[in-house]
Symmetry: C2
Subunit: 353 residues, 2 copies
């Protein structure tokens, strides 16, 4: 498996999502034409974009144990993308984000539907309710895709424990993230803990375990943790950097959205530790300030860079990625797949979106 | 199985929930003490109250096929209660309800935690985010309880399709319910459709199918639909009546909450059809009016009674219940269990809470 195969795998995953969403959408519209907007929004959100990291890592986790390629396993691994869709839809509601991938977030989409259709009542509440339900639906669909993937009973049963743990940890991590915002944490240690739970385990380690479970080879879990945990942290740190310095046209989120939402990232925590008192006050007042201007955002970006926090976090990303790759090199992961995992490690931590 | 056994069954279900929640709570607090409030709120919400109708119907659906009592099946059926917990927590957020079972709704509970802890940021947003996550967690826990119930692989696999369909229909029904509020529907036919989807299928028919699936006897599905669909509608109609005329001390919801939330129930639709134009305007302006006084509520209650809508809906409840019971009498459902199902039909439609 080489680079080319990786893009083929991504296409296969996209294909599974297109096919699955088509069937589910028509099941929805069979209930009533009133559900057309739900079906359309689910299809578009699920099939249009997304890096598919979790299914990719899960499938590589499966192959890395020496198991052979199988379409059914690709389908089973794709279930993880639907869990992620739930997380994204609900996350945007919780954060009050207006956009996702340069398009309106689901709650805003349904708010607009309400406005344009001259429905009765509060359109914001309608958008909120719709987004909660669409997120729930994605979570339920994840389950269904796994059930209907065509894997054997044994494989299905084997995967259940990791699947349950992963979703529990996701919800717990999301709560910690929300709580850290409310606690206005500036502790580097606490931010790292959230990064580890919110994304470190959920984005990479657990998908790899999921793949190993499908293969019936839990003996790979340790290696996958040694690789996946540091890499997952690096992955989240890259997210944090992109949340501040990413190109909005590429990330699909406005610049400075992370400030407006008051996110307590490691990048911010390191900045607060490093910078002058007067600068610290500027950063603190920017966090959670929903009316932040572009020039305010630029000022905070400058402080983060000048404080050395950006360089420090970049170094941390490199170190964690190297640590992950080194764990892989001393493992029994199948050679070709280890190379692809290494490639994925670079993609996940050096991305611009 | 007689009345006494029914209360024993309810106790068993409660026991399963207590035991399961204990283990899950400690898994949460193992992640960090910050999750104590989540663990405490989940435990209290899940174990304190609830009629347990869905697990009861599911287990009776299993026994009705002639299958023998088994603790593992009780546990598997109890998973449906956790799906319901998700629906309730998210429903309260979507409706903006302040209370549930005479206690603060989950989003209000976490809003208060934020206020009392002097957290940073918007406490309402914190409450909202927490309730979304706790509802998600309940949905994930439902899955886990089914997985860990101790049923055989075959039983587990057999139950998956109904389990998936049931949750899809729940989310679709909830969306229809929200949409009908926005459309300000006054059509009896449309309200009945929502009643059927929101509760008719989800509360009784699907749990019975779930039981039949666990027993590996889908041939009981038709009988269970003939019994469960009319009964489920009657169940929802009783809910609608209680939402207007229920004793707040018993229902745990303030009087007139359904008006304030602008719910388009069959009871309201029939009232709108029957009453005078001037009264229709009073009812219409009460729906969705969040500042409704007690005396406003009393006025609308009077209109509903005087219009004959209450009597009409009560007759509909009786007719649907009789239709359900009659379907049962001409079926191959195991005799003693058919009697208990008949008893449950009365309990579900003549309840005061």
């Amino acid at each position: 498996m080489v680079s080319q195969d990786l893009s083929q795998l991504r296409q296969k995953i996209d294909g599974v999502l297109v096919e699955f969403t088509k069937v589910r959408s028509s099941a929805l519209t069979d209930i009533g034409a009133e559900l057309n907007p739900v079906a359309a929004a689910m299809s578009e959100f699920i099939t249009d974009g997304g890096k598919r990291f979790r299914p990719i890592f899960a499938y590589l986790g499966y192959l890395g144990t020496g198991s052979l390629e199988r379409e059914e396993i690709v389908r089973a691994c794709t279930a993880l993308e639907l869990v992620h869709v739930c997380a994204l839809i609900h996350d945007d509601v919780m954060d009050g984000s207006d956009t996702r991938r340069n398009k309106p977030a689901i709650h805003r989409l349904f708010q607009s539907l309400h406005d344009e259709s001259s429905y009765q009542g509060n359109s914001e509440r309608f958008g909120l309710a719709s987004a909660i339900l669409l997120g729930d639906l994605a979570l339920v669909w994840a389950d269904r895709l796994l059930v209907e993937s065509g894997i054997s009973r044994e494989e299905f049963i084997n995967a259940q424990e990791v699947f349950a743990d992963m979703r529990d940890e996701l919800m717990a991590g999301q709560y910690l993230d929300v709580l850290e915002g409310a606690l206005a944490t500036t502790s580097v240690e606490r931010s790292l803990k959230v990064a580890r739970f919110k994304s470190g385990k959920y984005s990479i380690e657990r998908p790899l375990h999921f793949g190993a479970a499908l293969a019936g080879k839990p003996e790979f879990n340790k290696t996958y943790s040694d690789f996946g945990l540091p890499l997952g942290e690096a992955f989240q740190l890259r997210d944090d950097v992109l949340g501040v310095f990413g190109n909005p046209a590429v990330t699909g989120k406005p610049a400075g959205d992370d400030f407006r939402e008051g996110k307590r990232t490691v990048l911010i925590a390191v900045t607060m530790e490093n910078c002058e008192k007067s600068e610290r006050e500027i950063v603190a007042s920017a966090l959670g300030n929903e009316s932040l201007t572009e020039s305010d955002v630029a000022t905070v970006q400058e402080i983060i860079t000048r404080s050395g926090a950006l360089a420090e976090v970049e170094k941390l990303i490199t170190d964690l990625t190297n640590q992950a790759i080194s764990a892989l090199r001393h493992s029994s992961v199948e050679g070709k797949i280890a190379n692809v995992l290494e490639e994925m490690a670079i993609i996940a931590t050096q991305r611009s979106v």
